[in-house]
């Protein structure tokens, strides 16, 4: 599995709390280590979203700078750096897609999704290889339509109304696909949301 070395690398060495503290102390070397730990994951996600490696490089740089500039609001003891980084990366990439496509939507929701405080009390080692494999397996079990809407939501940041416009399907149909897809993912992943 190509992702395995990366995921193993994330497991090794100083944990997120220590690294976050050093980032808050403005140690540039800590940023270098953060990049070494998560750079490939961030780059892969952004390339998947914008599908342009040159633009992805700019957005990766923006992502790490944004984290560097906002890390003082991050709870080093409870926070999860990796998920926060990915949220910032996704938002930067989707913001680029929206700008490039003159697709305007309320930016408040995106801002909210990357607030540092939103990444407290996550489970440890969230990007373990077996967890990612479970998510991939759960996605593979979805129908083509269900997988499409989940990908449009995650990788393109489309609302359900925008998905209906994009796919030419009635909004009600889109909502049904989204709800059933999310329910299926929850059932497969177990503890995603409490009952």
């Amino acid at each position: 599995m190509m992702l395995l070395p990366l995921l193993l690398a994330i497991e090794i060495g100083e944990g997120d709390p220590g690294l976050a503290l050093r980032l808050q102390r403005r140690e540039p070397q800590a940023m270098a280590e953060l990049y070494d730990r998560y750079g490939r994951l961030v780059y892969s996600l952004i390339v998947r979203i914008v599908r342009d490696s040159a633009i992805a490089e700019d957005l990766v740089q923006e992502t790490f700078l944004r984290v560097w500039n906002r890390v003082h609001g991050f709870d080093a003891g409870k926070g999860a750096l990796g998920p926060w980084l990915l949220a910032v990366a996704r938002n930067r990439a989707i913001d680029y897609l929206r700008s490039a496509g003159s697709r305007l939507r309320n930016a408040l929701e995106l801002e909210e999704t990357e607030h540092p405080a939103s990444f407290a009390d996550f489970e440890k080692d969230i990007f373990r290889a077996d967890r990612v494999a479970r998510v991939k397996a759960a996605l593979a079990k979805l129908s083509a339509n269900q997988r499409t809407v989940i990908e449009l939501a995650y990788f393109e940041g489309l609302s359900q109304t925008e998905m209906a416009e994009r796919t030419g399907q009635p909004l009600g149909t889109i909502k049904t696909w989204v709800r059933t897809a999310l329910k299926s993912l929850r059932d497969e992943l177990g503890t995603v949301a409490p009952a």
Partner: protein, 244 residues
């Protein structure tokens, strides 16, 4: 709405793609401290983070790491882990290699700066396009604020489909670690955060809240000085208050 009603929306909320009024309802519900829904949204955020990790792995180019390091170092230089080895180099051959490397590094830095410059221009253009998009709406509402000579003055343009545009002058740059935060304030309701911005060195500012905005019942647009990372509710008196 009850927790059961909101449960199906956790992931969409975590993704930032939930639409109003559901988005506002779940936000208000979470602000009331519902532990079940807070736990549910946290679980959804974890799942969404894992979705990001399913992107096909792509190795970033080596120069990208240098760019990130250079951007953070901000010209102050970085203590590279291999720097001590350089200090030990004494032979002319290695010196030559260092010179070559320095030239290559310089070129990479120049390229990084040019790319960052270009990206900044693209973003600024997108921002201006958003502002023009609001200004071009024939039905956009316009409100003037700050009639006196001293306070910040300017105009707010509001369009329920396109967003809110704030143009201000006589607004001093925020102190270090601070930024201005715009709010849309419903009549009798809590201010809704509408984004952070900075004033330019000539004491002017332009801020856009793009996208659909619920302006029914909105009583004012305000700006307060807050910490740079933003706050969920204002903590200081408005420096700009435009009554609608």
């Amino acid at each position: 709405m009850s927790c059961d009603d909101l449960r199906d929306s956790y992931e969409l909320y975590a993704l930032g793609v939930l639409e109003e009024p559901e988005s506002g309802e779940i936000r208000a519900h979470l602000e009331r401290g519902c532990p079940a829904c807070q736990s549910g949204v946290r679980g959804a955020r974890q799942s969404m983070a894992l979705l990001g990790a399913t992107a096909p792995p792509m190795p970033p180019p080596a120069r990208l790491g240098l760019r990130v390091r250079a951007a953070v170092a901000g010209g102050r230089g970085i203590r590279w882990s291999w720097a001590p080895a350089w200090a030990a180099v004494a032979t002319a051959a290695v010196v030559a290699a260092l010179v070559f490397h320095a030239r290559e590094q310089h070129a990479a830095d120049e390229l990084a700066r040019a790319q960052a410059h270009s990206a900044a221009h693209t973003r600024e253009l997108a921002r201006l396009n958003r502002a023009l998009d609001i200004l071009n709406q024939p039905d956009a509402r316009q409100v003037v604020f700050g009639a006196g000579p001293q306070p910040p003055r300017g105009r707010v343009f509001l369009d329920s489909r396109r967003g809110v545009l704030l143009l201000a002058s006589n607004l001093p740059p925020a102190p270090a670690g601070k930024a201005y935060e715009m709010w849309v304030i419903p009549k009798g309701g809590k201010p809704l955060p509408a984004g952070m911005f900075q004033a330019a060195t000539d004491w002017t500012a332009m801020h856009v809240l793009p996208g659909p905005v619920d302006l029914t019942g909105a009583g004012a647009v305000a700006v307060t000085l807050e910490r740079e990372s933003g706050v969920p509710q204002p903590t200081s008196q408005p420096v700009i208050l435009a009554a609608l």
